[in-house]
């Protein structure tokens, strides 16, 4: 066997083993969470509040809290992000201003999440007097999701063929009609992708809600946006760091992690399905 063929085989072996190692991490990670978490899963675990200092009962308030935090932060960030992306791609003048905005967005994307938490506390909780609340947490998470949504939407809008825009304007459409009737519908599936990614990010974040929205323990569900809430990631953190019954708390933490994972996966699955349906009906 000559040296070139040997090198080729070696190369493929390196690639294959990298893939296997990566996949192995994921499999072990998922298997462990399923194995440790599945045992505590029950209807009561999903539908009841925690009892006996978090050593028994369920996680229902945390589930509801994370659901509301995610939905409300995305509802704030998605329109803001898409509108910003439209401005950057379609109006974008003057150039220096656009450049500064873009630098700001990319910087925002690189800020550690604990900084978002501190910022949210300073602005929403203290300055605007929202207190520790669903609203303050949702706003903080929305800022975290913004750069992801803006970048994905900008990319999506830019990838719409120029021909479509020209065709629309040549038929006497205004810039606004062109954006609304041609650019946005065409870019929508890719904008949705950005939203899906940010849902995963937002639902799993702990640091930004630590000082702005989350509470260790609450038996009742939030009644207004100004109530503090329990949240799944923060609940895991609490179970692992607080309390004195580690033997009882750790399995509950695994169970909570499993629920969080399934929640994010199912939200993503719905969004991916919607995107798939839209893409199937349009080809170009």
């Amino acid at each position: 066997m000559n040296i070139r063929k040997l090198k080729n085989k070696l190369g493929i072996a390196v690639l294959t083993s990298s893939l296997i190692i990566t996949a192995l991490f994921l499999v072990v990670f998922l298997a462990r969470i399923f194995y440790k978490g599945a045992s505590v899963l029950s209807w009561e675990f999903l539908s009841a509040p925690p009892r006996e200092a978090m050593t028994a009962g369920g996680i229902f308030p945390a589930l509801v809290g994370t659901f509301w935090l995610t939905v409300s932060s995305i509802s704030i960030a998605l329109p803001l992000g898409v509108l910003t992306a439209i401005y950057l791609t379609s109006y974008g003048k003057p150039r220096w201003f656009v450049r500064i905005v873009r630098i700001a967005i990319n910087t925002l994307a690189g800020v550690p999440s604990i900084i978002y938490g501190l910022f949210g506390m300073a602005i929403f909780v203290n300055l605007l007097r929202f207190d520790v609340s669903l609203l303050a947490g949702a706003m903080t998470l929305a800022i975290l999701a913004l750069p992801i949504i803006i970048n994905a939407s900008e990319e999506a809008l830019r990838s719409v063929p120029k021909d479509f825009r020209e065709a629309s304007l040549a038929l006497g459409a205004t810039e606004r009609q062109t954006i609304q009737r041609v650019l946005l519908p065409t870019a929508f599936p890719n904008i949705l992708t950005g939203a899906i990614i940010s849902i995963g990010r937002v639902a799993g974040e702990t640091a930004p809600i630590m000082f702005t929205a989350a509470t260790f323990y609450s038996r009742r569900l939030p009644q207004t946006p100004f109530d503090e809430v329990m949240a799944l990631p923060y609940h895991i953190y609490a179970l692992m760091t607080e309390g004195t019954h580690a033997a009882k708390q750790v399995p509950i933490a695994y169970g909570t992690a499993l629920v969080l994972l399934c929640l994010v996966l199912s939200i993503s699955a719905v969004a991916i399905y919607i995107r798939y349906r839209i893409r199937k009906t349009r080809k170009w």
């Binding site: 063929p161 021909d163 479509f164 020209e166 065709a167 629309s168 304007l169 040549a170 038929l171 006497g172 459409a173 205004t174 009609q177 009737r181 041609v182 519908p185 065409t186 009906t281 349009r282 080809k283 170009w284």
Partner: protein, 252 residues
Amino acid sequence: MVREQIKTEKLNLWFGSNHVLHDIDIPIYDKKVTAMIGPSGCGKSTLLRCFNRMNDLIDETRIKGKVLINGEDIYAPKADVTQIRTRVGMVFQKPNPFPKSIFNNVAYGLAIQGKYSKSEIKDRVEKSLKDAWIWDEVKDRLHESAFSLSGGQQQRLCIARALANNPEVLLLDEPTSALDPQSTAKIEELCLVLKNQVTILIVTHNIAQAGRISDFTAFMYLGDLVEFGPTEKLFTVPTDNRTEAYLTGVFG
């Protein structure tokens, strides 16, 4: 006597510091086909795009002179660009239907004006598709994607889309250069019929095509309008030797 529908007066255009059109004076006659020919980069497409102000989309475009449509200067400060573009339709080099249904493609121009009822739109869509000779091929699948059509069909759909606005002028920017010979022949025949209802301006790289379908021909070279006249005359006894050289294939 034919009527001058469009007229340019000392039209000059710059992209940045690049002087693309020099003192163009050209008449376009009502309900006739006018072809614009010339080598690549001579400014013929740019001139075409002056008639519906599509050059406005390019940054740093500067225009001096006048473009009069029915005596009205479309570059006057008070001119309404969207209204001009509904009166002057355009078909592009590459078929560019929207990612929408066949029906919605043709209905688009009417829908955005927001002054037509559903039944009016339906009637106008049907009429436009018939006028563009594509009705029989699509009447049973109006709600399928426009991308299910062949290239030639897509281009006729784009013609139908432009006709739906009932324009006075139709600009065709090399409409057949991306099509096969059969589709090309069909669109050429279509032009000869459409000129009964709309003034047609066509930019083409294909000299023979200009000869087959146009009543008047403009030959452009390096941003100058070198020669303009009835197609028959320009093709048989050109007055400028650059025209003659181009037509006989000395340069292209």
